[in-house]
Symmetry: C2
């Protein structure tokens, strides 16, 4: 795309006789804007996104990366792309360490004996340990605990995650999950417990991946359901408490899953792609409806509805169902590596991985010369109740490796007010999705992808010097 | 109380010279009405009911009848009555069969393999069975299944319980739970599944007692969480489904627990009692906050606040924490037997066992001669937003055996709109209780019990001919 941009700039120079200061503005033809309005209405009237999400979450259910169900999800995605009439469907391998959950329980011991509901964090080792619980209000408090001060004890970080439309509370919440187990080990703890990184009040704990710093011996690490964290805090206010934590889970070799890709071939520039997608894997506790069955369903539906238009857009619409996002963006990293030589062919990309709430804002990381086209897309999205918020947000998780290498991105930001009530819990099930809200998402992605695929000019994808080399 | 009423009637006859047509009207002195207004405001300003409920649900937690925790609950209740300054505290034995839950799981087998979240119904036997699932829309449909038609299969009743302020949906919902397992056995089923009798959409299944008709061999019987019932129904719409149900639970001998009773002794008629209470046991899945920690907390608090008045009311306030309501009103039946000879000493009784929602209606089964006093109580409750709805409702579950024998009853009906979101699930925890709503309940019970204890004249308790004899 760099070469192409320079050619256009040269043409502009020759036509005007002026010095080239910047690439010419990317623009979307009026006819495409008109067509996108019809596409938007067709999407709003369709339940296809919901039906695809229902199919995945019902027929496959939970699909932990590397599990038998994950392999069934890959087969499901290929079959679904074909059933929907995508022009090309293929898979690309993604290899990663396999983690399994087998059983988990915890009990308060002694005078207040009672069970606590928890779930192992992804990456936790197995183990059954008993110890006195030491509570910390947040990560910083635990990090301040002197080395050895928790010897033989169980560290408990009771940080309450805050609710926000844009999910801003998840940064600190997931920070506890990813960093506190190592801090607990440094202080000598034999196990780690946290209040779930969630905003609900149900006895459905929130799992999620954790990691242990190099050189540390991992300890059993788990998240208490929010009411159980409340309960433990009340018990600790009454006096010391001993707890038994019993986790059977752990790493078990390697697994290979697949990114599954479907394309609606472009009518005039088929080698240039607009990429949309979500991730196919889920945690094992729920059926992965909002995380991220919805992202799969709504982007597959958007692609299908674009494919149903009288004429395909100029560029190819590529829908990617990424493998194993949950345990470390393995699918996104594999995609970035496999396609590193083709960054400039990726015109613009957006991933849906924040539930099934209505899209309320649109933004793009595209450069100044794409401003007109980005504004045109924003205007076409406005009837869906979507604001243009330049500079806010960022690419979806699976796109970050490729965006780091230079791919242009956009974001369709969803209302995540309720997302962390359900995220990574048993409660992430289809009934939590509002079909009308999902249809609005399908409309937003369809309009966005169609217009980006019809734009004359590029959105600034350009291989960066530090790009990951193709393998 | 019958003798006392006749004495009053005789006095009235002597005073007026007219024939006695009916007992004289029971009335509450104006001074007591005034005092009840102060009591009401003191109760609304107090968090005592919440603190007692917190103490029980935190320090004891779940307390399945006959369990170690149930025994701790009995000790807790005695200690709490004493700590609150009740004048008399004692226990009365209640013996019943003990049922235990050890583990439970279910999986869809085959091409759509996935776990289903369920919980054994109380009274279910253990067993691991596999079979094809046959779905029925409701109990009547299952009852119409011919004998032998479900041989080797799993019966699934998918009845959706309806939400209602007064809990009217629970009749049909619990009817499935109590009657459908026997119908499944008659049709030859090897296991029974039902959609939980609940109104939520969380993966927290609703347990509850079931029974098997005489002469039938019990089969493993369980309730699916509501989203899992939805999921199974969607799967069945796609084709036949085999499911494995594995329950480890069952009856295990007898246990003896206790009704725990505390009294605020009456100042002038101490042998006459106004009874309020709730049940001390809970199911094992939650911590029994709304069922029925709230009933215990709010009636204990009401008694304590009455005891704190400058002068105790004429009659005794008796607060009863009933044993093992959940598995068949064992505590209520034991109380009725133990106190059968003293029905007329029980002036009026009301049990709180419908959560912690605000009281919205008051009614009593008292006869015509108590109408003035009942109206006076209703008027004193009106400032709490409580309507008088004569003839509506009935006594709490633990009172029904004694009411059947002739005890007068009243009801303070709570808003149960959300009750069956939580009832008998892991989600029945303290955080679901609104402290202000609970304080309104305490105020209602305090005003009610105080005024009934100050009434001049009775509320119609009278031993019926068919009364259960005292043992």
């Amino acid at each position: 795309m760099l070469a192409s941009s320079l050619s256009l700039a040269l043409a502009a120079f020759l036509a005007t006789g002026q010095a080239v200061a910047a690439p010419p503005q990317t623009r979307i033809p009026d006819a495409a804007i008109s067509e996108s309005a019809r596409l938007r209405e067709a999407a709003l009237a369709s339940d296809l996104g919901y039906r695809i999400t229902e199919s995945l979450t019902t027929e496959v259910g939970a699909r932990l990366a590397g599990s038998e169900a994950d392999a069934r999800a890959v087969a499901w995605a290929q079959a679904k792309f074909k059933e929907l009439g995508f022009d090309k469907v293929w898979i690309e391998p993604v290899t990663f360490p396999r983690w399994e959950r087998r059983s988990e329980s915890a009990q308060v011991l002694g005078a207040n004996a009672q069970p606590l509901i928890l779930t192992a964090l992804g990456g936790s080792p197995a183990g059954t340990v008993e110890g006195e619980v030491v509570r910390f209000a947040d990560l910083a408090a635990l990090e301040a605990a002197p080395a050895g001060s928790l010897a033989g004890k169980i560290a408990f970080v009771d940080y309450k995650m805050e609710r926000a439309r844009d999910g801003a509370g998840y940064g600190p919440g997931s920070g506890v999950r990813s960093r506190a187990p190592s801090a607990a080990i440094r202080a000598g703890a034999v196990a780690f417990l946290m209040r779930s990184a969630g905003t609900d009040s149900h006895r459905n704990p929130h799992t999620g991946i954790t990691r242990f710093d190099d050189g540390l011996t991992p300890i059993p690490s788990a998240a208490l359901a929010v009411p159980d964290a409340d309960q433990l805090t009340r018990l600790l206010a009454r006096g010391p408490q001993r707890v038994r934590v019993s986790l059977d889970c752990g790493w078990d070799g390697e697994a290979t899953s697949h990114n599954v890709i479907g394309e609606i071939t472009g009518s005039s520039r088929p080698d240039e792609v607009v990429l949309i997608g979500g991730h196919l894997d889920s945690w094992d506790l729920g059926t992965g409806a909002i995380d991220d069955g919805a992202g799969i369903g709504l982007t597959m539906a958007a692609g299908k509805l674009i494919g149903d238009l009288p004429k395909h857009p100029a560029r190819t619409i590529r829908v990617v169902a990424f493998a194993n996002e949950e345990q470390g963006l393995h699918g996104g990293k594999a995609y970035a590596q496999a396609h590193a030589a083709n960054i400039t062919r990726h015109q613009l990309a957006a991933e849906s991985d924040f539930g099934a709430g209505r899209v309320y804002a649109f933004a793009s990381g595209a450069p100044e010369h794409a401003k007109v086209a980005v504004d045109q897309i924003a205007a076409a999205l406005a009837p869906l109740g979507i604001e243009h918020t330049p500079g806010e947000g960022g690419p979806g998780p699976d796109l970050t490796p490729f965006v780091a290498n230079g791919m242009a991105w956009a974001t369709l930001r969803q209302d995540g007010s309720d997302y962390f009530d359900l995220h990574h819990t048993p409660d992430d099930t289809l009934d939590k999705i509002n079909p009308q809200d999902l249809a609005q998402n399908v409309a937003a992605y369809a309009v966005f992808a169609y217009l980006a695929a019809q734009a004359e000019g590029d959105f600034g994808s350009e291989a960066k010097p530090a790009a990951v080399p193709s393998e």
